[in-house]
């Protein structure tokens, strides 16, 4: 059939001929496009946003992706948000020196089969010396009114974490007692009880049933009533209600409410860049060194060989771990350390034995005899011959480096700031995703890592076919 | 010398399937061999002579397109045997092969003695000790010392390896021994030694050889019969004396002309053109593009091997007057 291709272009051509190679290359192409667009559209802001806890406030925590609804029988809720303009406002002032009453009423329908994950009410007000008194009531479709809480607003932007606030919870428990129920106060969950049908099961999240009210039917909506008593004519408040759902976006959210899609999209360029830079540099250095040693022989060769041996004996991973830990590295310094640790390796040895063989070939001898200089022969004749093998090595080691970065993240040694796939997977693991079943948190980045690795592997597979045709006897 | 015909080949055909063509390596070859006789199969590289050997001993690659013909060995048509029977009854027992020893034909991790004795142990179920003993004997016959049975192939020189390979082929005392270029990779002195060995063995053990080579002069040393092969077909089959003195086929003439001679001043000639592509052989007589005597009929019809001047066979329109008419 054919001798191995010489040079880069020939290699690329041969590569796209096979099905496997084509698949691999197309996956990579898709990834590169995503990468370029993400970097172009979002820029580095993503990284700052990723680490800013306040940027994600409106997202639900640990929500599954929206499309995963098909796996669940119950209709899971999406986040319902009532903005300040959605509230019906009525203000009443008796006179200039008297108190001002502000009423905010929010209305929404709730037709899901499952309860919200959290409920939060954000109140912002403008007031002077005297802080307003705020009373919150929850009006259910079945007509019942639940008194939630009556609090003094501590500062201009306060949030009353309805689902988490203990006072609200106590009031909800009281409400349940008033209905003639006997719930176990320790098991009552506010956001469940507020939405649950009034029956014995109301006090237990596992047995409660949702009191549905959807806009299609004749049912009444849910209403939240915020009544503020303020001290000044110019003072006012406004409110925002977030009823957090259990579904969000394309990739769900993590335990810090972050939209995983963003982290994952950003992870693509990082993964690619990391993998490519480390594998290209180490392969290049190793190949050139191996070739240099074999071609020039003598002390050069001995030295390179001995250093390679030392490198091979040093336990790579423990050293990498140690260095990462001591120096608290960012992902790019990890990259540098990685490259330094990979300057010598197995590829040096195999390139060396290849070049030793090529050296004996007649056309090299001929070149020497007509006066071509040693460096010239090396670059023009020898390096193009071994390039395909170096290339194959690059391709098959990219996934290894991507996984290495993920492994470091798992050990807690990864970059503290930049979101990478490895970081997401490791956060998922330590956040208990495998133990509590937040499958999307682990699986989506894992699938992406896997697909990327597989793409490179497929390319490596077709490389193998090209470089070793005799092994493909069919 | 026993004049019984022990090998009779008729219309042996072996085609290979390549990615987009069919290679007609052996195209209807027929000849016969008598006991104690040596047939030399001569031709250029790529004419199909090695394929012929493979066809006889049924070492076929995976991409076989056609494999047919009749091979009568000691009365049985071995082509009709299935693979297992062929392996058990024919291989090495009736027909063995001597490869180029410089080829990697000896297993590097087994000792010589074990490899030579192996056919006895496997085929004849001879006990190992006895088999090794016989191996030592036959190795001795080929001129190798006793301790060779403990050696590994890489410890032997080229000539020694070739002797070992010959011994290995002879251990079951087969009817026919095919020798595929047994001396091509050896230096001239060793070559001479091996040729002498082959001659001695032939005499002592009354062996029948098929001696495959590209070297005409070498063939002349050993053979009784010479078959000239060209592009997958036999051009001429004659007894040795006549072939060299009076070659019939134009190709044979050209071959002889290209051999340098020691005693005269005649310059060796070369044959113009190149051997044809076996996947697309020329129509009619395959030699016609290079033949100085080519006629119109040569381009159209394939000449058949026909008797000429007694026992000689030649496939050429120059001699086949009936076919031409």
């Amino acid at each position: 059939m054919s001798a191995p291709p010489v040079g880069f272009k020939a290699l690329l051509r041969d590569l796209t001929k096979s099905r496997a190679g084509l698949t691999g290359v197309s996956i990579l192409l898709a990834l590169t496009i995503v990468t370029a667009s993400v970097v172009g559209l979002y820029g580095y802001d993503v990284v700052t946003k990723w680490n800013d806890p306040f940027a994600w406030f409106e997202n639900p925590r640990l929500a599954a992706p929206e499309w995963s609804q098909i796996f669940y029988q119950k209709r899971l809720p999406k986040t319902i948000m009532l903005r300040e303009s959605d509230f019906i406002r009525s203000e009443y002032v008796a006179g200039e020196e008297s108190l001002k009453y502000v009423n905010l009423e929010g209305t929404f329908f709730y037709g899901y089969d499952d309860f919200p994950s959290e409920i939060n009410l954000l109140i912002s007000g403008t007031f002077g010396e005297y802080r307003p008194l705020v009373k919150i009531q929850w009006i259910r479709p079945d007509g019942n009114v639940v008194f939630c809480t009556s609090q003094v607003l501590e500062n201009r932007n306060a949030s009353i974490f309805i689902s988490g606030d203990d006072r609200v919870r106590e009031n909800v428990v009281d409400f349940m007692f008033a209905q003639g129920l006997t719930p176990d106060p320790k098991r009552v969950v506010t956001q469940v009880a507020l939405f649950a049908q009034i029956d014995e099961g109301m006090g237990d999240p596992t047995s409660a049933r949702v009191l549905k009210s959807d806009s299609s039917g004749t049912a009444l909506p849910y209403r939240i009533l915020v009544q503020a008593t303020m001290h000044g004519y110019n003072e006012t408040i406004s409110a925002k209600l977030i009823v957090y759902g259990k579904l969000y976006g394309l990739a769900g959210t993590d335990n810090r409410r972050r939209d995983l899609l963003i982290g994952i999209l950003w992870g693509a360029p990082v993964a690619l860049a990391f993998g490519l830079i480390s594998s290209v540099s180490s392969a290049l250095v190793q190949t050139v060194l191996g070739a240099l040693g074999a071609w020039y022989g003598g002390w050069t060769d001995e030295l390179i060989q001995r250093v390679t041996d030392v490198y091979l004996v040093i336990p790579f991973l423990p050293v990498l771990i140690t260095v990462s830990f001591i120096y608290k590295l960012t992902i790019w310094s990890v990259l540098i350390v990685l490259v330094v640790l990979s300057l010598f390796g197995g590829l040096t040895k195999s390139t060396r034995s290849m070049v030793l063989q090529i050296k004996e070939e007649p056309y090299i001898e001929a070149a020497v005899s007509y006066g071509a200089s040693k460096p010239r022969i090396l670059t023009l004749y020898i390096l193009p011959r071994i390039m395909p093998y170096a290339f194959a090595n690059i391709v098959s080691s990219v996934p290894a480096y991507v996984f290495l970065e993920a492994a470091l993240s798992l050990l807690g040694l990864g970059d503290p700031i930049v979101p990478t796939w490895g970081k997401i997977i490791s956060e998922a693991y330590s956040g208990g995703a495998v133990y509590y079943g937040f499958w999307w948190w682990v699986m989506i980045p894992s699938v992406l890592v896997f697909v990327t690795a597989a793409a490179f592997a497929l390319i490596a597979y077709s490389f193998d076919k090209i470089l070793n045709p005799r092994l493909r006897e069919e | 010398m026993n004049n019984k015909t022990i090998l009779s080949v008729e219309n042996l055909t072996l085609f290979y399937r390549m990615s987009n063509a069919v290679v007609r390596a052996v195209d209807g070859v027929s000849f016969s061999l008598r006991a104690g006789e040596t047939l030399a199969l001569v031709g250029e590289s790529g004419c199909g002579k090695s394929s012929m050997a493979n066809a006889l001993i049924r070492i076929l690659p995976r991409n076989v397109h056609t494999y047919s013909g009749t091979v009568q060995l000691d009365g049985t048509n071995v082509m009709q045997l299935d693979d297992d029977d062929f392996r058990e009854t024919v291989r090495w027992k009736q027909m063995s092969m001597v490869f180029q020893g410089a080829m990697n034909v000896l297993n590097p991790v087994l000792k010589i003695g074990d490899q030579v004795a192996e056919p006895l142990i496997i085929h004849n179920k001879v006990e190992k000790h006895k088999a090794l003993h016989e191996a030592t004997d036959i190795l001795g016959t080929t001129g190798l010392p006793d301790d060779v049975i403990e050696r590994y192939p890489h410890e032997l020189s080229g000539g020694m390896k070739q002797r070992a390979v010959i011994a290995m082929a002879l251990i079951m005392k087969p009817n026919v021994v095919i020798l595929d270029e047994p001396t091509s990779a050896l230096d001239l002195i060793t070559q001479a030694n091996i040729m002498n060995l082959l001659k001695d063995l032939k005499r002592e053990l009354s062996l029948s050889y098929i001696f495959i080579t590209h070297d005409l002069s070498l063939a002349s040393e050993l053979s009784d019969l010479v078959a000239v092969m060209y592009a997958g077909k036999l051009a001429e089959v004659s007894d040795a004396d006549h072939v060299y003195a009076e070659p019939l086929h134009p190709y044979t003439k050209k071959l002889l002309d290209s051999v340098p001679t020691l005693r005269t001043d005649k310059k060796p000639e070369f044959i113009p053109g190149a051997p044809p592509d076996l996947s697309e052989p020329p129509p009619g007589c395959r030699f016609h593009p290079r033949c100085p005597f080519a006629m119109d009929i040569c381009k159209a019809k394939v000449p058949e091997l026909k008797k000429q001047n007694g026992d000689r066979l030649v496939a050429c329109w120059l001699y086949d007057k009936e076919g031409r008419a």
């Binding site: 004996v313 040093i314 001591i326 133990y435 | 410890e155």
Partner: protein, 359 residues
């Protein structure tokens, strides 16, 4: 040349090789020690930690707070110096690094700074060896398993070159070869433990461990299933692939064709003419495999909370316990060198061409 002549040649070669490896080991050890101690950087960290510790200790003493500031600082420093001396940290780093090196090479691994073994010992050797059997148990079993499976499948692939199994397995092998075992580990925990509830979450034994030996052994086995599964499934495909490649290359050699011409049955050809000459490169490859498997162990053990040396490494690093980190690295280094030596010897035994090559 009689057999003992052969042995003489091989042992001389082996000695030379061992000498070279020893030098390599020493250099590698020293580099590791330098790195593991952060070139002295760790000293500063430990110093500040000790200072904090001393400060905290003293601040609980009401009398201490009555002393003037200089007196307080002096006492703290004194205490810090004492702690340092107790841990042998008072000599300058360069001197210490050579002491470490000599100790490392003689396997005198010293005392851990903070970690203790289950029995309370602070000897690094005790700490490591306490954990070593578990690692050996899990990863040796796994590695042997997947090498065996891999070689067997490689044989099957060779017998049916170009067939569906061959091509499918090759593709599977190349893809699986880039996936590390801990990755499969995480996913298999999700699937088999969370969803299917078939296996435990991690660790080696249930709590409380069963009393009788049989149940105890079975309990360990039960906990080994998932880590073994991850280890084996990522290991055997590549092995099958390289075995296949080696064997296929050999099967195209002339002596295999000659063996068939000799009329040998397929089984004999496979065993004596393909497998046997293939053993040397297969054995060399297992050297590389074993070496990389010790490494992969660290993360895999972490994911499965397996109480072995890998998990210990993780803990030692978080705890900044340099002697333990160095100790483990030394052991790794020795294991590597030992493996390489053993495999060189095995290679020489298997391939007669190597033995007499230095003539």
């Amino acid at each position: 040349m009689p057999a003992d002549g052969l042995l003489y040649m091989s042992s001389k070669m082996l000695l030379k090789r061992a000498a070279v490896l020893a030098v390599t080991l020493v250099v590698a050890m020293y580099v590791t020690i330098l790195v593991a101690n952060g070139g002295g950087y760790i000293d500063n960290l430990i110093l500040s930690e000790l200072r904090q510790e001393a400060g905290y200790l003293y601040s609980r003493n009401p009398l201490f707070r009555t002393l003037p500031i200089e007196e307080q600082n002096r006492l703290i420093e004194e205490r810090v110096q004492l702690s340092m001396k107790a841990r042998g940290l008072d000599k300058p780093f360069i001197v210490r690094s050579f002491i470490y090196l000599v100790d490392a090479l003689t396997l005198n691994l010293g005392r851990a700074l903070f970690i203790r073994s289950a029995g309370g010992s602070s000897s690094v050797r005790d700490i490591i060896f306490e954990r070593l059997p578990q690692t050996v148990l899990l990863f040796s079993t796994g590695t042997v398993l997947y090498i065996a499976i891999g070689i067997y499948l490689g044989l099957v692939m060779t017998k049916n070159i170009g067939g569906k199994f061959d091509r499918g397995m090759t593709m599977f092998a190349i893809v699986a070869s880039v996936i590390p075992p801990w990755f499969i580990g995480i996913i298999s925990i999700l699937i088999f433990v969370f969803y299917l509830r078939l296996f435990p979450f991690g660790g080696m034994l249930s709590v409380p461990p069963p009393a009788d030996p049989l149940s105890y052994a079975l309990d360990i086995l039960y906990h080994m299933v998932l880590p073994l599964f991850s280890w084996v499934i990522t290991g055997f495909p590549y092995w099958a692939y390289i075995t296949r490649n080696i064997l296929v290359q050999i099967s195209q050699e002339d002596f295999v064709m000659a063996a068939r011409a000799k009329g040998l049955p397929d089984n004999n050809v496979m065993t004596d003419y393909i497998l046997r000459p293939g053993l040397p490169p297969i054995v060399t490859n297992s050297a590389l495999t074993l070496i990389t498997s010790w490494m992969g162990a660290i993360i895999t053990e972490t994911v499965f909370e397996w109480p072995g040396v890998g998990g210990l490494m993780n803990a030692a690093i978080s705890r900044l316990d340099a002697p333990v980190v160095i100790g483990i690295t030394v052991i790794y280094g020795y294991l590597l060198v030992a493996t390489v030596l053993i495999l060189d010897a095995a290679y020489a035994l298997l391939d007669p061409r190597i033995r007499v090559s230095k003539k």
